[in-house]
Amino acid sequence: MSALRPSPEMRRVLLVWLVLSVIATPLVVILLGPQLPPGAASDAAHGQQQDNTVMTAIVTPIIILLIVYFAYVLSAFKHRAEGEPEDGPPMRGDVSVMALWIGVTLTIVIFLAAWGAYELFPGETGAGGGQGPTPLAIATPADASTALPVQVIGQQWAWTFRYPTYGGVETTELVLPVNRQIRFTVTSIDVIHSFWALKLGVKADAVPNTSNVAFAKPVKLEASTVRCAELCGLWHGHMYAPLYVVTPARFLAWMAEQRSRWSPATRYLPPYATKYAPEPTYRAE
């Protein structure tokens, strides 16, 4: 068996595979793609959805190949006669088949890696993942300078959101204006948490004494939940907070209300910083 001159049986397998793939792959892209998580509620989420679509489309013909091949082989070459089977033909590896196989898998891998790296450029979509304290310029959105900074503070077992450009007020619900770039700086004051806003396509570990930056621009008005995605102890499963994406006017109104409501407490907060070391705790006598 050579890769260039496949046997008639192999030709049949490949033909069935080709037909099925040509039908199924566009269906996956057109029908399944727009349904894939995490949706399109932000630019980052939309980019991830596109990424998931591309990868599902690449995986589809591969899984069809394996299913068609195994289905054919396992039925056609089943030993049906009575008694113990004779030995099969002692075929050994054909170099051209191996070379073709390695070439194809290598091409797919390099394409996937290049595509994934390209998707990390925010000019495209941004990735929404935590990028550490100082993201490279190339990994920062063009409108990062005008982005709304929101600090996400994890602690066992609650989220707090701090808005440094609005007097450093802290809230327990995350409210964001639509169509504006958001710069999340995620930190923790005790153990490792992970800030997961599924609908925004954002996940960034909250590591104590570190600031982890992530960008996203919400484009849909909707309510959802942010959760903790890294095991952080007893009530990890209950560590969530509501997320509302609202119009800019409603955001400003909400913010004014929060500022007046929390002003007695905001005075006693430590000054805004990218990370907070908790006060030393004293044992009660």
Partner: protein, 637 residues
Amino acid sequence: MNAIAADIRPARRPWWGQLGPFNMFTGILLGIGGYFLGALVIGATLSKGINSQIATDQNDMEFVLGILFGVAGFLIGMGFLNYPLARLRGAEPSLREKEEHGIWRYFTLCTDHKVVGIQYLWGVLFFFLVAGINAMLIRTELLYPTEHFWSADRYISLVGLHGTMMMMMTSSMILGPFGNYFVPIMIGSRRMAFPRLEALSFWLLPAAEVVLLASVGAQGFPSGWTGYADLSVQAKLGMDCYLISFALIGMSMALVGFNMLATVYTMRAPGMTWGRLPIFVWAVLATAILQLLAAPLLIAAMALVLMDRIVGTTFFMPFSGGSPYLYENLFWFFGHPEVYILALPGFGVVLELISVFARKPIWGYKLSVAGLMGVSLLSFFVWQHHLFVSGINADLRPFYMLTTELISIPTAFVFLNAMGTLWKGKITYTVPMLFALALFFNFFIGGASGIFNSDVPSDVTTHGSFFVMAHFHYTIMGGLVFAFFGGLFYWFPKMFGVRLNEKLGKLQFWLFFIFFNSTFFPLFAVGMLGQPRRVSAYDPSLQTLNDWVTASAYMIGVSFVVFVVNVIYSCFFERKPALGNPWRSRSIEWQLPTPVPVNNFERVPVITATPYEYGVRDAPAVANMNPTHEQVVAAGG
């Protein structure tokens, strides 16, 4: 009879004569004694007046020293010090201990590699059962979106216990039973290179698992199997159990790796060239390299956390100059090779099985070896893909994305080999073959979902969610556990002289295969829709999917009940004696009598061919079992 043969002749004594000191029971006694010595005498003295112990309501120093002395006592009671002490007193060197007949050798330090293999088999199955019951309890809780059956702390302990116990047990699931039993035979040797280390590597396993289980009585541990600092530093006493048990397993793994490498390098029979080594031995070799190089990192990480907890160091304490990132790097530098420690032996087993049951040579022998070794090598360069959103080294993410995806190339070699071997074969669907074929289906889904995890933008959603959890269950459970059962059904007649019932085996296979997929495939969706791992509370809209998964998981439990019934029925009721070579395999272990004699080979064989020459005209037998002196010399012996 020459001097060596006299030395290794098995002694026959009545069973009460074998029940002398230094067996499992003296081990347990000394272990308990060691615990109290360490905790109440040494630990209590050392920790007296130390502020860090008084400030909290727990005394880690007592507890840790108790466990360490307990483990040491257990090993002394097992008799691991006898030989070194005897040598110090001037005794003659000897290679072997307790190689006698009778049931008691399974409860002692025995240096017969076949006994160690069977010890491993039952040990692994026992802890698989315990950890599997934990999984059922976890799934029971997830029937409801809030806590119903267990309190949050009980639940989080169950999650940690299930994950850690499975990780510790599966590390030796194939290498332990089949590696110890069959690698020496397959290379034509009478023993492992270091028989006492081999026994030690096994007896560390029950010691570690018992220490881990003890955490239940010490308030559990909240950190899952990853044990991220600094959560693990603030955790209660049960955390010490996790740290010590995982370090013990790390030692066991490093010893197994070292021993297997030395055995395969030095103990091969004449004529066993690298090109004739069975694929299973190659897979063990690739795994052994990983174990030897990765496991010490685990021991180091565990030791550093212990020091943070007990003696006031701050390696991982972020507000005292340490860094949790350091732990994440140390842990995953071990942790990613670890997942290939789980996967590679499974590949080795199924490639053997496919060749036997398709009655064809392995299609690309060298390609398989390249695949196994390639995975082994690349697995050291990918660990930061567990940290894509952690904020560490964000600029290096494309590099780790590339290396991770590159691993699919050597893995695809293994798939191509299976496909080529099956082509135009004469396939019989025995139970081992069904398990082997299912591995390729499951592992492909595991691998394809791995593409999503390895891609940074997609990983932002999947990381830390049930998607990842489904992914690694597809590779470990769908890969390793299926390969384990395939290997077990295949080698059971050789190990025990009895064939497992085929009908019950097929029932178990189909139940397991169908409900395994029905359990874990929906979990990809559950994860993508926003359910994080290890939670006891989730979004109520996901309840239907979760209930479906739980029901399917119970059915996996039923499939294992079928297996237990099968073992009892086949061994005690049916007792269908296995023919010498029921699968008509060419492999050398099937050319030996059953049960395999203590010395394996009467004379050291001369290997003359690979075990895969099915259908080759005039192929020589795999080995000359009774070679003349000239033949041995000609083969380079």
